[in-house]
Symmetry: C2
Subunit: 208 residues, 2 copies
Amino acid sequence: MKLPEKTVERLSEYRRTLLNCLANGKTHIYSHELAGLHNITAVQVRRDLMLIGYSSMKKKGYDAQELISVIGKLLDCEDGLNVGVVGMGNLGRAVTAYFNGKRPKLNIVAAFDVDPNKTNRVIAGVNCYHFKDLADVVKKSNIEIAIIASPPSTASMVAEQLVNAGIKGILNFTTIPITVPDNVYLEEYDMITFMEKVAYFVKQNSMK
Amino acid sequence: MKLPEKTVERLSEYRRTLLNCLANGKTHIYSHELAGLHNITAVQVRRDLMLIGYSSMKKKGYDAQELISVIGKLLDCEDGLNVGVVGMGNLGRAVTAYFNGKRPKLNIVAAFDVDPNKTNRVIAGVNCYHFKDLADVVKKSNIEIAIIASPPSTASMVAEQLVNAGIKGILNFTTIPITVPDNVYLEEYDMITFMEKVAYFVKQNSMK
């Protein structure tokens, strides 16, 4: 069964919240609490969990640990997935530092750049290779997912090289949309869009 | 008229693409071209543009300059909106550097941190103030939108202070969901969710 994109997003968000709950000593949570924390309805939460075959809310709510494990079985790859980052400027470094260690089944194992000051060094805890060695490193380190954090003008070229190197999923952080073959999963993630969305609704609210 | 969230997202993305087209000397674009660049259908593009009262695709396609201006009138605030960033670690710096200069009507005008090595300095082109001066600076600099890029454990406290200071829209980059009053627009933007989404669909594709 392939879940809808939005459901996958929400499951990932539920898990994040459940992990925070556990970290704060809270072992159970009600659907309406989970809903409140995500600004959605309790019906939506229950529908998502029903979709993944989980409906055992007890008197004291969902068992956080159990639900984390159910979501993990769906979202995670049992053997883990390796990730590479292309471009180790501010953004690439921030993403790497932000990401690593947060999810045991998903690890940034290599970085790529063309700047000789960055290559052949460890940056943000990760080996940084020259971009010309992409195909070799992808193969050697079994990298299946790539993050593009290089200058926008390079995005299309980088995407093409990634696809040629056998990358199966791309998260594009640049402001340039890219295209990839159907067998590669692409997620475009432009911060400006989110900022413009906030700005639009702030404007709308102020006109009320 | 208040547009649906997803339409606002797509309009922002169309504008980004149209700006890139113009920069590359392309003055007109067909709905199917725009659709292809965004991995959606041409029907969706035309529906979005109809919704904003724009339907003048000529023989040679939409006039990029004209469409940019129509979208701008809808999305942008005429006088511009000022943005503040809380937390000037890797992420705050990356976001500021990434963002500033990209949109004339939306500017990061101040940053906030508690680290004395960062306060009272210019970082990534922006004055960094101590977080305790938040309310004063927000008022003085007429800041309406805030980006939270501080450590996750501080997110709720930061959000509360932002709301108290009169902030109208928040973009939360931390991994902790926050809650705000109804009159404040909140967008949660957790990179891990996007990565997990890519990982999930890579896994699904590999099982085909």
